[in-house]
Symmetry: none
Subunit: 208 residues, 4 copies
DNA sequence: TATGAATGAGCGTTCATTCAT
DNA sequence: CATGAATGAACGCTCATTCAT
């Protein structure tokens, strides 16, 4: 059987090159931040010449945006897993502090922080960020509002919105913590999380 | 009294100048980020010449460090106020989204985020960050371990450590949220916070 | 006849390829100028890969030189037609402002101008330019010195040289005008040209 | 007497620096062309660092435009002198081929050519060029239409427009010639010019 | 013959920092 | 004490040219 024609093959290569660049860029961005990471450094990390990067990306800001969208996508996908597990606290405590290389299923804490800061300045980043945010929140709300018979928590929409908000804060706060205290005591973290999550996921309070 | 004339007076002036520079720098850093804010812009904002800044700071990174330490100090001081209030949720919801100028008692969200990201790279910033962190956490632990008779919650040290950790996550998570959603519904936020804080501050669970 | 198969045929093909490249290059040079037209753009316009161009030309400057020589050749050839016509003013006014593609008998005004500027810097271009210039001028002189019986104007060599010079200036000045005012009033131009040409072609002044 | 305050003094210096840069730029542009002259080369020629140029000009294209406008202004001013002289041919032949430094009253031929070529591509250059063109032409028309009693030539507006056009072509054609043949025989040039100019300035032809 | 990915030098430009005034 | 002109290294990016396929 003859190999695929030039089209697909080069498309495959192009995708591989793009990924090689994104991988190098992510490493550089984590190590130095978006602005301090130079195209030359990224190129060196990706083991290619600076000029070649521009065959695959229009410029540095496109790379930043691609990294950000990739990271946000990762966050979005993890939500699916998270509310499928009954041991949310265990999952969060377990993934805490794992160094996030470019293939990781976890978002890198410094990247998450810089991304969030940039979102207050760059409209494109803000838009991507908002989209990811909305998706994650919607997933939380869905679980919280679904009836208990269906594996949910049977909360009203208003209740669910507030608790989903607290979940977001908690998860994002954990990212900040991850940056500050990578070597935290995991057992303690897990125990503390269990308690707070229990409060957030508890059934609606009955008026007396 | 000749010797007294120059000394103290110039020291006062020097401190005022430093503060003027830090104030301008903070504004610029919030607006553009640490890297994108140029010394020329900071000088212009402080209404002085670029050269003069170097009489009061060794360079840009010293300014960044000074800003960061000042912000961390602010955070530390706020803790005293926070656990003096019985309405923690109200206080948090009320301060949410308030724009933070250089005299503010609140840290600016983008600054907080960039600061946290830089702490993963710069050992000096990491050290300052850790120190502030420890102080805040100690204050939380103190309140949680103090006996109920003394206005505390009578938790064991181990319990208190975990709950203090959750408080940190929640507060830091709120900062992230503040950056993402400055226009949040404050009433909902407050209600949700009350519930989670109640869980965190609740008395120790009794083993059956 | 094996030896005949590759030689001529490929030579023909090579010439066709060269011409295809020159045609594309001319279009790009007119649109953007020698420097701003990139090899990639030329290749794209010629519908081939950038690498292939280097099989037919040693580099960009060789293409520029080839274009220039081709254009000068065109100018040279037009002279033959021009002094065969009795209506020189009409011919000039009629060709004015016609966009010059690569097969045109007219040189493109921006190309002519850039070519002339380059001739002051590049010795090869200067040489080509001088050669073309001399040929055109010789043709004018020949017409002006030929006896009236032979269809000429019977001027002395010295008279003819001066008037040929003025003709050159006028023609070249028209090229500048063409660049500046492509939409000129053709009727006025023609009338004005007739008058000046009449003065240039008039019989020698008789000493009183 | 105290020196002038900081304002004027630095303004004077700024103007001097601007001129120093423009002078160097003009030299580089003449030697290499607009595109091939690099900012580094211009800085070196002006004996300053590359960065300093940007204190006085927003970028390279602003320098190009400044040079062009300065050159066009020179051309415009020369017209005033030219039609004040009774020996136009002598003046033109005399100034021919004089090397044009940055203080010259003559426009540099290669600059004029490149400027004209760029005017077909860059709207700003086109606008400046058109403005200068219109001014020069208006001056010619004025002389040609003014009555003979007032030192003019008493031509009708229509006649004058055509002849002014021919004058423009001739002058611009001379610039092209200057680039091609800097070492021309000045006596011959002058004699030829006299004859053509006589034809252009001759009184209106009388209908028989 | 033809491709187009890859290189790397050089471009225009910015900016932290210095220093003569 | 204060200025702001000046520096020069480094940035993001382009493009003529090469070469493995």
């Amino acid at each position: 059987m003859i190999e695929a024609s030039a089209g697909p093959r080069s498309a495959v290569r192009a995708a591989a090159q793009r990924q090689r660049i994104l991988c190098a860029a992510q490493k550089c961005f984590v190590d130095r931040g978006f602005h301090a990471a130079s195209m030359a450094t990224i190129a060196q990390t990706a083991d290619m010449s600076p000029g070649l990067i521009y065959r695959y990306f229009r410029g540095k800001s496109e790379i930043i945006l691609a990294i950000i969208e990739q990271q946000l996508e990762v966050a979005r996908e993890r939500i699916g897993e998270l509310h499928a597990t009954s041991d949310l606290a265990g999952a969060l405590a377990g993934s805490y502090g794992k160094s996030a290389d470019c293939n990781s299923e976890h978002i890198s804490p410094p990247l998450f922080l810089e991304l969030s800061a940039q979102a207050t300045r760059d409209p494109q980043i803000a838009a991507a960020s908002r989209a990811s945010d909305a998706a994650v929140r919607a997933a939380f709300v869905q679980v919280l509002t679904r009836s208990q018979a269906e594996g949910g928590y049977g909360l009203s929409k208003a209740e669910a919105a507030g608790r989903a908000l607290m979940l977001m804060c908690l998860f994002e706060g954990l990212k900040v913590r991850e940056a500050r205290e990578p070597q935290i005591d995991r057992r303690m973290l897990r125990a503390a999380l269990e308690q707070v999550l229990a409060a957030i996921f508890q059934p609606p309070r009955q008026p007396s």
